[in-house]
Amino acid sequence: MKRYILPLGGFAVLLVFLGVGLRLKPQEIPSPLIGKPAPEFTLTQVEDVRNVFHSRDMRGKVWILNVWASWCGPCRAEHPALLELSRLAVAPVVGLNYNDLRGDSQRWLKEFGNPYQVAAFDGDGTTGIEFGVYGVPETFVIDKQGLIRLKLTGPVTSEQVRDKLVPLVRELNHG
């Protein structure tokens, strides 16, 4: 007798989770890529279309990849923190301009200031997808061996820059 109620019980549990799930925000998702090699990519640069950026040129360096887009509101919010990060110059900050139009992103960088050492242009978002980008902005720390060590989803705050990014980059540089 009891076993016939089991499916109902299982479904009730599922229903509770789905109900709770409706009120959650699924934006903050760390990457399954952590500890895995960062996908390699070759893209043109946002500002200087004659130049091509190869991610493999970053081998041997600890670097930070920030995925951003001109259409993305939260990217505006994290922008001061990124400028601060780039002033500290602990590691090269590379921008990945995700699903964007070149003109818009160039204007964006001119208007708000450019925190990136290099900004790579990923107009149709294929490189972003290889990085498992769910929502913009996202920030990755990649070590000397090209492994992803940290991923931050959502706008980076200056606390995160001070307490997470800078200590991690220093540690990786010494290690």
Binding site: F11, L15, P26, I29
Partner: protein, 660 residues
């Protein structure tokens, strides 16, 4: 005016659905023949009104009526006519209307082809389906009405998402929904049987063709989605374990279990409870898929329109339909008998094993899909589950299914001698093993690829051997051709579907094991060599499309054998939505696909080109098509038509052979 008529037709259809969902059900319970008789005409009326509403929305799209909000946000006057029609299901509201239209068509079909069913049964089946339709109609009318006006009207529409402007958009959603919604028939049969307490072989025989057709459509729908993603998304993948893909794959797996379980219930009268539960679960997963896609509880590459209010409505509906039917199951199932007994080694027990494996595989996918949600809800942090999880968990569960698939048809019903079966398949087992070893050690394939190939050969040989034995077991003076013609279509269906799985496995193993992908930065006049093929960038020109401008590159591709191909990948820019799109160029072949897609142009005229060589890609598609064809063949078996004409299905001549 026409949109208002469409809206009105939806309301009338809702009223009819409410009538159809109540009176015939009560009639069947009370034995009131007049109320029972209402079921079929009201299903027909419901179909007519829904079809009218659907046609009204199509008319609004064709006539560029941008005073309808839904048309304004999903179409554009520059959009070609066939995409304007497909844009009807390009957004949330219209997909719902398509869902309901297909449900109404299935109901109409049940009403039309159910003349030989007991009237009370028909009334119950149509009554249950009417409740589902009523739920969706309420949902549409209250939260997502496709006929809402936009005042003042837009001057032009915002255009259909360029990703959706493709042949795939015309066929993929209707096929997929035919499958999803088709499971509602099996579901309604199951609920009707539980309500009426009539769970027998006849019930299984009625359910089988409907389930097979729905399952075949679902197969085609998933295939078309994957095929589309492969050429349209521009990076050559074909399955991403995305939440939405999983949502369509789970009902498929349970549906596969269901069509096998129905065989046992029909032939042997066993597994009745189990079969009913599978029918409920298959449709529940279809509804869950709708919820996951439409509510935004999970992030997905596919999720377009999402809205929590809509989510709450679907959740409540889900609770009612699934919760209600599982409650009914818990109440009625204990009184259903166990049916024919069977030994530990028999075809029944192997089919049981197949069911358990498929259901476990479904559970792992459900877990992986919902795990981020569970953890988040319990405040244990946020994670995402990707392809690595699914591939490492799903594949080992599927291996025994593939092993069983070739052997199970050799096993007798009720009780079989293990030695006898082992002796019959020993030679093909040895041959497959030999093939696997040769692939591994001789042809230097990786163990995984060689293992996949070995399993595929095992299934192909097993299927062929079964057919040979069947054809040679003929009486004196009967030619092989006559004997072949005597085999029921359901037998050929099984052979086609099983062989299709083998072909699919070959494709997957070789694509996964042997694909080569390279990025090159090339100018017009440059050449690049990859995997023995030489790619020469010969031309680049601007092309004007109806609603886009494109840069079209021409590549001359030379194979080692001297063959020359011409490939023209494009980079399109859709002007209304200001969206760039990559249009890959693919040369398909029996043993390899050459896949070229354009990346970004540099100012010096150099383009990033992604060059991919995918061995045996076509076999993946061919396998899917064979599986679907198998389902359709089995569904058109003669005995289902016979059963319809027989006065009492129990006395209909049983098929001459045991396998189906």
């Amino acid at each position: 005016m026409i949109p208002e008529l469409g809206n009105f037709a939806l309301m009338l259809a809702l009223s009819l659905a409410l009538v159809q969902g109540s009176l015939p059900l009560i009639g069947a319970w009370r034995g009131n023949a007049r109320w029972i008789a209402l079921a079929r005409p009201s299903a027909a009326g419901h179909f007519v009104f829904i079809l009218f509403a659907f046609a009204s929305l199509v008319a609004a799209f064709v006539g560029n009526d941008f005073s309808v909000a839904y048309v304004a946000s999903n179409s554009n006057s520059m959009l070609p006519l066939y995409y304007r029609v497909a844009a009807v299901w390009g957004g949330h509201e219209g997909s719902l209307l398509l869902w309901v239209t297909i449900l109404a068509s299935w109901m109409g079909a049940v009403a039309l082809f159910s003349r030989q069913l007991p009237p009370a049964m028909t009334a119950r089946v149509l009554g249950v389906m009417a409740w589902i339709s009523a739920g969706f109609l309420l949902f549409m009318l209250f939260t997502s009405n496709p006929f809402d006006r936009l005042l003042p009207a837009a001057r032009d529409g915002r255009d259909l998402n360029p990703l959706l402007q493709d042949f795939g958009m015309i066929v993929h959603p209707p096929l997929l929904y035919m499958g999803y919604v088709g499971f509602s028939v099996a579901f309604a049969f199951a609920i009707a049987a539980l309500l009426g307490g009539q769970l027998d072989a006849a019930w299984a025989r009625w359910s089988r063709p409907w389930t097979l057709v729905a399952w075949a459509f679902l197969t085609l729908g998933i295939f078309m989605g994957s095929f589309w993603a492969y050429y349209e998304l521009g990076w050559g993948g074909w399955w991403f374990w995305d939440a939405v893909e999983n949502a369509s794959f789970m009902p498929w797996l349970v549906g596969t279990a269901l069509i096998h379980s129905l065989i046992v219930t029909e032939k042997r009268g066993s597994f009745k409870n189990w079969t009913v539960l599978l029918a409920i679960v298959a449709f529940s997963l279809s509804l869950l898929g709708t919820f996951l896609v439409r509510s935004g509880v999970l992030t997905s590459v596919h999720a377009f329109a999402t809205d929590p209010r809509r989510g709450l409505f679907i959740l409540a509906f889900l609770a009612l339909v699934i919760g209600g039917s599982l409650l009914l199951y818990a109440w009625r199932a204990p009184s259903v008998g166990l049916g024919g007994r069977f030994a530990l080694f028999s075809r029944e027990s192997l089919l049981m094993l197949n069911n358990v494996l498929l259901l476990t595989a479904t559970a792992t996918i459900l877990l992986g899909t919902l795990y981020p949600l569970f953890l988040d809800a319990l405040d244990l942090g946020k994670i995402s589950v990707g392809a690595p999880y699914f591939e490492s968990v799903f594949t080992p569960l599927l291996l025994p299914v593939l092993l069983l698939m070739a052997a199970a048809p050799f096993v007798e019903w009720k009780q079989a001698a293990f030695r006898d079966v082992a002796w019959r398949v020993s030679r093909i087992a040895q041959a497959s093993l030999l093939f696997g070893l040769t692939a591994w050690l001789g042809w230097k394939f990786s163990p995984t690829v060689a293992g996949g190939l070995m399993l595929a050969v095992w299934i192909l040989l097993g299927t062929a051997l079964h057919l040979l034995q069947r054809l040679s077991a003929r009486g004196h003076g009967v030619s092989a051709g006559r004997q072949a013609a005597r085999q029921p279509l359901s037998y050929w269906g099984m052979l086609a579907a099983h062989a299709g799985v083998a072909v699919f496995v070959i494709g997957v193993a070789l694509v996964k094991g042997g694909e080569v992908s390279e990025d090159a930065s090339l100018r017009v006049g440059d050449s690049y060599v990859s995997n023995g093929w030489r790619y020469s960038f010969t031309d680049l020109r601007k092309v004007d499309g109806p609603n886009y401008v494109a840069a079209r590159a021409t590549f001359e591709v030379r194979g080692a054998d001297g063959s020359v191909l011409m490939l023209q990948p494009e980079k399109r820019y859709y002007t209304v939505q200001q969206m760039p799109m990559t249009e890959a160029a693919i040369d398909r072949g029996l043993t390899r696909d050459i896949y070229l897609s354009l990346g970004e142009p540099g100012a010096d005229g150099a383009w990033l080109v992604r060059i991919q060589n995918k061995p045996f890609m076509a076999w993946i598609w061919a396998g899917c098509l064979m599986i679907a064809a198998g389902g359709l063949l089995a569904a058109s078996d003669r005995r289902y038509r016979l059963a319809r004409h027989a006065a009492s299905p129990e006395q209909a001549p049983a098929a001459a052979v045991a396998v189906s």
